[in-house]
Symmetry: C2
């Protein structure tokens, strides 16, 4: 048997590519730079990936799945009280984005880059169905405002992402009470008013 592929390298490559991707975007990404950042030779990249495109798609796919499972796992772990479930989802997603802002920024940019395979868009929608249903459930219960679920989702997700980006850009340090206030804003935005 031969020398065997090193799984750690895949992680290193992902990390390196992500770091550079958010600085430069797909077209600005240089394979030589990825290799240098991951401490391997340029040619080695082509043992793990057929092309630059394949590399970036794998990074995207991997990150996308991770983000979706962060969102849904905390929903499944929690049951009973509607607000608690909402808060649990919101917080785990927010904290994940706070810990890995590069990942969030990368995924967000990639989604609107036009490089994405339409089948992946469809796949994402299917995987986010539970979130969609959760929001609809909140509407049926009269807790959330009645309007297109996409608009409610956009309100929540947009606010979270932009908040993380501001924090990341301006190097702000958030306290726990501040995080809860942000959660409160999302909740107030979506909550039905009388």
């Amino acid at each position: 048997m031969p020398k065997v592929k090193d799984e750690k390298k895949v992680t290193d490559i992902h990390k390196a590519a992500m770091k550079l991707l958010i600085q430069t975007g797909f077209a600005g990404l240089k394979m030589a730079d990825v290799a240098k950042e991951a401490n391997i030779a340029t040619g080695t990249l082509y043992i793990y990936y057929k092309s630059k495109e394949a590399l970036v798609n794998d990074v995207y796919e991997h990150t996308r799945k991770e983000m979706i499972s962060v969102l849904l796992d905390s929903k499944n772990a929690m049951s009973g009280d509607f607000y608690k479930t909402f808060a649990s989802m919101w917080l785990s997603y927010f904290n994940y984005c706070l810990r890995y802002p590069e990942k969030m920024i990368f995924v967000e940019q990639f989604v609107y880059s036009g490089l994405i395979d339409p089948s992946i868009i469809h796949e994402t929608e299917k995987e986010l169905k539970p979130l969609h249903q959760f929001i609809e459930y909140g509407q049926e219960k009269g807790i959330f405002k009645s309007l297109d679920v996409e608009l409610l989702k956009a309100q929540m997700q947009g606010a979270i992402h932009e908040t993380i980006k501001v924090i990341h850009k301006q190097q702000i340090q958030l306290t726990d009470p501040q995080i809860l206030q942000c959660l409160g804003m999302s909740w107030d935005a979506m909550r039905r008013t009388f």
Copy 2:
């Protein structure tokens, strides 16, 4: 006197560059493609701009100024009632983004691209001071929640941008009442609760 530069060409170039920029980002933008999209020769671009970088920076600078003035002009036009002023600003910004989603998407991506001159970031902050003060005024009056103004701004701007992006991506057609409901969500998010 010689043949004279055509002002319309500058607009054409901006339009073309913007369209391609949001598809590809700075590094993916090809001067030949911009020229083709603007129906001019590649070389002509270099009569109007010294380099690709200069072109993109001009597009950014132009668009940034336009967006800021949309935001602030409607604020200045309105006076008196706090909510009305807020609604007026919110609506004119939202409608502008709705009409020119490419511009909004481009500016948003460019801000986080790392290509931007730090002095421009500083300039933008200075120009957005009135908005900042408006929000602080709302806080002093006890209308808005008391937390870091950046977080309130992020909440509003993030939600607007994400909403526009969803609409643009999914080709949703918004009715006026739906737009007002989105405004309502921003207002509820920022409003102090008792």
